[in-house]
């Protein structure tokens, strides 16, 4: 996994150096591969304070360790220990965690459907 990451980073680095067209996209290295939804999701994760509790790579100040890290959340089999991890279920979990697990400490943050969808788009880039 780590080797893979290094490799990917190396490839990305090489691509940035070689492709003049990509230069502008490479100015913010964490944004270059994101679509509009995911880029917006990254900002929303910051704005809803998800990083207070979760470590989320690429999200400003997201170093929380109250709940589990979301470092490889796209590869996770289950959310909340019981929900099969798909974009639709992740959006539902973000919007109404108590529906899946009444005891969970994760608060209902009144995230709208559109916002949840964008957050999920970003979180599914974390593999």
């Amino acid at each position: 996994m780590r080797l893979n990451d290094c490799f990917r980073r190396a490839v990305r680095g090489a691509a940035c150096a070689l492709l003049p067209l990509a230069v502008s996209a490479c100015s913010d290295p964490s944004m270059q591969h994101l679509g509009a939804e995911a880029a917006n999701g990254r900002l929303l994760l910051r704005q809803f304070g998800c990083g207070e509790c979760h470590t989320i790579p690429g999200v400003a100040d997201a170093r929380g360790n109250v709940g589990p890290p979301l470092t490889h959340v796209a590869r996770r089999t289950y959310l909340a220990g019981r929900v099969p991890n798909r974009p639709e279920t992740m959006a539902q979990w973000i919007r109404d965690p108590q529906r899946f697990d009444p005891m969970t400490q994760m608060p209902d943050l009144q995230v709208t459907e559109a916002h949840a969808r964008d957050m999920v788009a970003y979180l599914f880039t974390l593999d």
Partner: protein
């Protein structure tokens, strides 16, 4: 010329050094711990690449027929769950002692293609305890298992439990047979574990042993679902990573992360959060304290 001489001498020296290591027997082959990290990496990478290459060109038949997956479930319950476990169901105790640990197939099914799964089931993998099923299951049966595995990532623990009771009539009888074979004795497991792990001292009288806990995390298959720093295994993301567990505030999304709560959660996840994918593994109190001691060291 001189450079060539040096290169040849170096190569000879490397071979001799290799043979010395091999014949001296210093390398630990016990199954209590995983290979050294570089060895593990080499084996894992070789395995992955070999399967990838050999599965190329295998064209899977249509796999989305629920009846096919239901037949696969029958074979899965007869031949796979013992070593690999299932959503919310632990592997049998003997399988937890295997090295490498048979992985969670929910994770595998997400990461591997249908052709790759088929290849692995059909031909098995050397030195891993994964048998070849070629001479034991027919072509249709092999693909039915693949079809079922591909549904696994979408199967919650509850849905898996329900699927054991339902299923098409054609396979219901067979599945009930398989159910009858289920050893549903987790309570006694836990009691046995307590008897097993007493070393004459209660867990509170003795110091917890983090190094022993590290091995227990390997031996109870925890690393089959969780990434645990310091425990060598294939990175698995069935459940959350246990990195920085020492400072994690909550366990299971609900319990404050104290020693006592962590021990309870490790031992009785189904009592604390019924329906969780984390199975009761029959962990005794001493083992749980040692595991907790190791996790408390992960900063």
């Amino acid at each position: 010329m001189r450079t060539l001489g040096i290169l040849v001498s170096l190569a000879v020296a490397a071979v001799v050094a290799g043979l010395v290591v091999l014949y001296s027997g210093v390398y630990d082959v016990s199954a209590t711990d995983q290979h050294l990290r570089p060895t593990f990496w080499a084996l894992q990478t070789g395995l992955r690449q070999s399967v990838k290459r050999r599965a190329e060109g295998i064209e899977p038949p249509p796999l989305d027929d629920p009846a096919l997956a239901a037949r696969g479930l029958h074979h899965f319950r007869a031949h796979c769950v013992q070593c690999h476990g299932a959503p919310g169901v632990p592997p049998e105790p003997f399988a937890l002692g295997l090295t490498p640990l048979p992985g969670s197939l929910s994770d595998t099914a997400r990461e591997w293609t249908a052709s790759q799964l088929y290849w692995v089931i059909r031909y098995g993998i050397k030195m891993t305890a994964m048998p070849a099923w070629q001479f034991r299951l027919g072509e249709d049966e092999l693909w039915s298992v693949v079809a079922f595995l591909k549904t696994l990532p979408d199967l919650s623990p509850q849905a898996y439990r329900d699927s054991r009771a339902a299923g098409p009539d054609a396979v219901r009888g067979a599945m009930q047979d398989a159910d009858a074979q289920d050893v549903d004795a987790q309570d006694t497991d836990a009691q046995d574990a307590d008897a097993r792990d007493t070393d004459g001292q209660g867990p509170r009288e003795r110091e917890s042993d983090a190094e022993r806990g590290r091995q227990a995390l390997r031996q109870f298959g925890c690393v089959g679902c969780h990434l645990i720093p310091g425990v060598v295994a294939a990175d698995s993301f069935v459940g959350p990573s246990l990195e920085r567990m020492a400072t994690r505030q909550f366990v299971a999304g609900q319990l404050p992360n104290t020693r006592e709560n962590l021990v309870q959660w490790i031992r009785h996840p189904q009592a604390i959060s019924p329906g969780t994918a984390m199975p009761d593994l029959g962990v005794g109190e001493r083992d749980a304290h040692d595991m907790a001691a190791y996790l408390e060291g992960l900063r």
